[in-house]
């Protein structure tokens, strides 16, 4: 609490002595507009959507007891236990051009050589992939808890009503899970905007600042370019953007699921 008050009073002084000039600089910086913001939003949207889909699938899989289920449940927790830093390191190592395990495996399969870490889109895809790897289990656990708390009678009624598993899933399970899904998407989207660890480790924002996301941009400005004012302004700008995005997301997600019925 003490600290949060300190933060508040510090962001203001920064704004006043540096003035809005810094904010203007940020918003007109082409790197910011054309690279950083789009990157961040792409990461946000793709990662959340795919993690949600996989998480839902996994949660459904884990909902019925089967041989080895406890083992799988523990394994699922692995990505959450391991620090994003470590995960990013693992990914960077596995996809290393010359020695990476996965790169070599792919070339065995005859896949074309992709310069995973030296081109913009492949490395950005890697960042997204890592993010998905880390966060799918988060969705899985929460959705699993949600699934297990659903009443079983509508499902029994669906059995009697000759509904196929596919139909039951879309027309009975998912609508009942809507509140949980909305909350998860909301929280995760807001967090995705703030991603730093994976990006910094995997690419450092490179090559040539092309995979920077918002947090990395602010960091780079503040501690690498040593333009503290700019960095702080970027950070402040992000805070404001997130507030709006947060509210907008909430409304959008709610309405979408309502309509898709």
């Amino acid at each position: 609490m003490r600290n949060s008050f300190r933060n508040w009073s510090l962001v203001n002084p920064l704004k006043t002595w540096v003035g809005l000039q810094q904010y203007k600089a940020v918003f007109t910086d082409p790197v910011f507009l054309q690279v950083v913001l789009p990157n961040t939003f792409i990461l946000m949207i793709v990662s959340v959507t795919v993690s949600l889909a996989f998480g839902l699938a996994l949660a459904s899989l884990l909902n019925r007891p089967f041989f080895g289920r406890p083992i799988l449940r523990t394994v699922i927790l692995l990505p959450l236990t391991v620090a994003p830093v470590i995960t990013a390191t693992m990914m960077r190592w596995s996809f290393n051009d010359q020695f990476g395990v996965i790169t070599t495996f792919l070339s065995y399969l005859g896949a074309p050589d992709i310069a995973w870490l030296s081109d913009r889109w492949p490395s950005f895809s890697l960042i997204i992939l890592t993010d998905i790897w880390i966060w799918t289990p988060w969705f899985t656990i929460i959705l699993l808890a949600g699934l297990q708390s659903l009443p079983k009678e509508p499902f029994e009624a669906a059995l009697i009503d000759a509904a196929t598993p596919w139909r039951t899933f879309w027309q009975v399970t998912v609508p009942m899970l809507r509140p949980v899904i909305v909350v998860c998407v909301l929280i995760r989207s807001i967090d995705a905007f703030r991603t730093f660890d994976q990006v910094w480790i995997l690419t450092g924002g490179g090559p040539a600042r092309s995979t920077e996301v918002f947090s990395v941009y602010a960091y780079v400005e503040a501690f690498v370019n040593l333009d503290f004012g700019r960095g702080a302004a970027a950070a402040g700008a992000g805070a404001i953007i997130m507030l709006f995005v947060g509210i907008g997301l909430y409304k959008l997600v709610n309405r979408t699921i309502e309509v898709s019925r």
Partner: protein, 365 residues
């Protein structure tokens, strides 16, 4: 429309049996009620008929086809659940149409069937609403509608009225009976409420601890209960039970307890003598006990202190401290002047006595 036959049906969870060798024949078009306290196995039996529980051993046939291995959707049944189990995010229309759509029934037919069910249940104004916008009674009607649209050969009800308040329950009972006249499908109905059992069933099955205690029409169960449990479970206020010792006196058999001496009718006396036990449990329903002294030859009296009075407006129920328990008498004129702790006399109609073996609780007839 079809008969349902259960043969030696047993259900075990692991090694724990919850339903023991149930044998039941339900005729085509019959409304059979399974009644009993919680945990007696009635819901489990119903769910086995539905296919929602596996059958440990025995066979269940619907319409002369053994259905043990068939999944619920292939048994041509419909079910009403206690908490309605409606699809909350579909409109009432879609709820009703769901089962038909899944079976690839042509749209025109779906519309016709839904219209028919809607008409019968008065659901017209509700068709475009969603279940969470409806009251409990309305939701229950939609659940009933879901059953009717498919015209199955068997209806199953799992305590459908338990979630409704008393007044609504009474109303729904009447509606159910009205519905039954228009749609006379074979039905199996589970409840723990003996009033529902008596008013709705063509025949009633009383269950306890996974065993069937008795099968019969409501009046049979009421007048000739096969066990002490059935006698005490059916009928309100509940039957009075008194442990008595039998004594032969001058050719007449008398049932005796503390300050309590009742004569037994000759036919019953013969059965009792044949049975042989000296100590038995006597049962008599409160409506067969009357205030005052016994008119000659009609019965026997006993007296005691008034322990409790219950004024119902339509009748007075009085409990007398006698024979080491409280004996309840009902249907006493509501304006009768009677005070607590005052001494009073009551008499029992002789023909209304039931006797049960103390050890196995079976009726002695």
């Amino acid at each position: 429309m079809a008969e349902v036959v259960l043969r030696d049906v047993v259900k075990k969870y692991g090694t724990v049996p919850v339903v023991h060798e149930v044998n039941l024949d339900i005729a085509d078009g019959e409304f059979m009620v399974l009644v009993g306290p919680s945990g007696c196995g009635k819901s489990t039996t119903l769910r086995m008929i539905a296919g929602l529980e596996t059958i440990t051993s025995g066979t269940i046939s619907i319409g002369e086809k053994v259905v043990n291995e068939l999944p619920p959707k292939d048994r041509d049944i419909a079910m009403v659940f206690q908490n309605y189990a409606l699809y909350q995010h579909m409109t009432v229309f879609d709820n009703l149409a769901f089962g038909l759509r899944n079976r690839k029934v042509p749209d025109a037919e779906i519309k016709a069937e839904v219209a028919r069910a809607t008409r019968m249940l008065g659901l017209d104004p509700l068709l475009s609403r969603k279940p969470f916008q409806l009251s409990g009674g309305q939701q229950q009607r939609v659940a009933l509608g879901r059953c009717i649209v498919r015209r199955p050969q068997l209806f199953l009800f799992d305590e459908p009225l338990s979630n409704l308040d008393a007044k609504l329950r009474a109303q729904m009972r009447i509606e159910l009976k009205a519905l039954r006249e228009r749609v006379p499908t074979t039905s199996v109905y589970v409840t723990h409420d003996q009033v529902e059992a008596m008013t709705l069933g063509d025949r009633v099955v009383v269950m306890k601890d996974g065993w069937i205690q008795q099968v019969g029409t409501p009046l049979e169960i009421y007048n000739r209960p096969a066990t002490r449990f059935v006698a005490g479970f059916i009928g309100a206020p509940a039957m009075n039970f008194i442990d008595v010792e039998l004594a032969d006196e001058q050719g007449q058999l008398r049932a005796r307890a503390k300050d309590f001496d009742i004569g037994v009718a000759p036919q019953q006396a013969d059965c009792l003598r044949k049975h042989g036990a000296k100590g038995v449990t006597m049962g008599v329903r409160p409506e067969h006990i009357h205030l005052g002294a016994a008119p000659d030859g009609k019965g026997s009296s006993f007296s005691g202190q008034v322990k409790v009075t219950e004024q119902l407006g339509s009748e007075l129920v009085v409990g007398l401290d006698a024979a080491e328990s409280t004996i309840m008498a009902s249907r006493i004129a509501p304006e009768t002047d009677i005070a607590l702790h005052a001494p009073a006399e009551m008499w029992i109609e002789q023909r209304a006595l039931h006797f049960f073996d103390r050890k196995n609780e079976a009726a002695i007839r």
